[in-house]
């Protein structure tokens, strides 16, 4: 019973027929992952909502693939009929972070897109309510981007309680005591630097 993926396979099959280029994978019971091309996301969302009865959009999430210079958008859909989740993923360009809004299919998308706009700086074209969400008056890089240095930012903007400046480094203390000379090559591998 647990491993009966008949329903999931059936839905996956339907997706495969409709979207030839999509990578469809049944991950486990009640979960299907679909990797899509950028321009196929909206056709897919309409298809899922209208044909596969995916009436509910649970969440939109985002991943920063800074190495690939891409953002990944993740749409999580749920059907009340089959109770199978579809996770639709797509990659968009990180430099020109724009994507058409999905507000027309599900009105609650507006809030999710607002959040992603605030934390990753992705502009959802067509969503005219991308105003401040949690961060008020934010002026720096969007904070969930991986090139944003949160420690540095917090050091610059907030206070630290003084009194901890006398902290010492164990490795350096031992080195000083023994007279060991650590070459630069080794310093990279010091656990405590």
């Amino acid at each position: 019973m647990q491993n009966n993926l008949e329903l999931e396979n059936k839905i996956a099959e339907k997706i495969k027929i409709a979207f030839q280029t999509a990578e469809v994978q049944v991950q486990r019971k009640q979960r299907i992952k679909v990797n899509l091309n950028e321009d196929l996301v909206h056709p897919f969302l309409t298809f899922a909502k209208n044909t596969l009865s995916y009436k509910h959009l649970s969440h939109i999430s985002c991943v920063d693939w800074i190495e690939d210079n891409q953002f990944e958008l993740v749409y999580i859909l749920l059907s009340y009929d089959s109770l199978v989740q579809i996770i639709a993923k797509t990659r968009i360009n990180r430099e020109k972070a724009e994507f058409p809004t999905a507000r027309n299919y599900w009105p609650q998308v507006e809030t999710y897109e607002r959040e992603i706009h605030e934390l990753y700086g992705i502009n959802f074209v067509g969503n005219d309510h991308l105003v401040d969400f949690v961060l008020e008056d934010w002026e720096d890089l969007p904070p969930m981007r991986r090139d944003f240095d949160t420690v540095k930012y917090s050091q610059e903007h907030f206070f630290n309680r003084p009194g901890r400046e006398d902290a010492q480094d164990v490795r350096k203390t031992v080195t000083k005591h023994s007279g060991e000379e650590l070459p630069d090559l080794a310093k990279i591998y010091s656990v405590r630097n």
């Binding site: 961060l135 008020e136 949160t150 917090s154 206070f159 630290n160 309680r161």
Partner: protein, 183 residues
């Protein structure tokens, strides 16, 4: 007719005042961070803080004590400042847990303040992450002690150093759209 008291009478009067203040500490129900969940057991039958005359109040204007129950996001800080400034004298602030002292586990967060006493005056700090109801009650006991000894002068400090506090507040609240309350 002018009433003059001698020094002893003044002292007795102020002691009575302090006793009255410490015996009925009304707390504004403003929950931030994880400490908010420690308040229900403290207030209700399990720890019954009302034994000490501590009870909740509906609005800032009726409250004596502002509890900062954990981390404050910059956005929340704005609301906290407004709440605090609306409260009427005598008023006190109790800070809960590590986050209000030196950042706690949000020490590297981009959006929470680390040192609460840079933004509003704090009378009592309670150690913990979060403090248990016993520690919370201990904090109130400490506050009562301070009130009796007339050392809980946070509000007076705020009035005196308002410029300094404003400067710190404005440093992180860039868009200052706040009403100036009449000090």
């Amino acid at each position: 007719m002018e009433i003059t008291y001698d020094k002893n009478a003044q002292e007795i009067l102020s002691t009575i005042k302090s006793f009255a203040r410490k015996s009925s500490l009304w707390v504004i129900a403003y929950g931030t961070g994880c400490g908010a969940i420690e308040i229900p057991p403290t207030m209700t039958s399990r720890y019954d803080a009302e034994r000490f005359g501590i009870r909740g109040s509906a609005t800032p204007r009726q409250a004596d004590v502002l509890l900062i129950t954990g981390y404050l996001a910059v956005k929340t800080l704005k609301r906290v400042i407004r709440t605090y400034e609306q409260m009427q004298d005598p008023k006190y602030v109790i800070a809960f847990g590590s986050c209000t002292i030196n950042g706690g586990m949000y020490w590297d967060s981009y959006n929470t303040i680390k040192l609460l006493d840079k933004y509003i005056p704090v009378d009592v700090y309670i150690n913990g992450c979060m403090p248990r109801p016993e520690a919370v009650i201990q904090g109130f006991i400490k506050l009562q002690e301070l009130i009796m000894n007339k050392k809980a002068e946070g509000a007076a400090k705020y009035k005196e150093n308002l410029e300094w506090y404003r400067e710190n507040q404005r440093k992180i609240i860039h868009n200052w759209r706040m009403p100036e309350y009449n000090w």
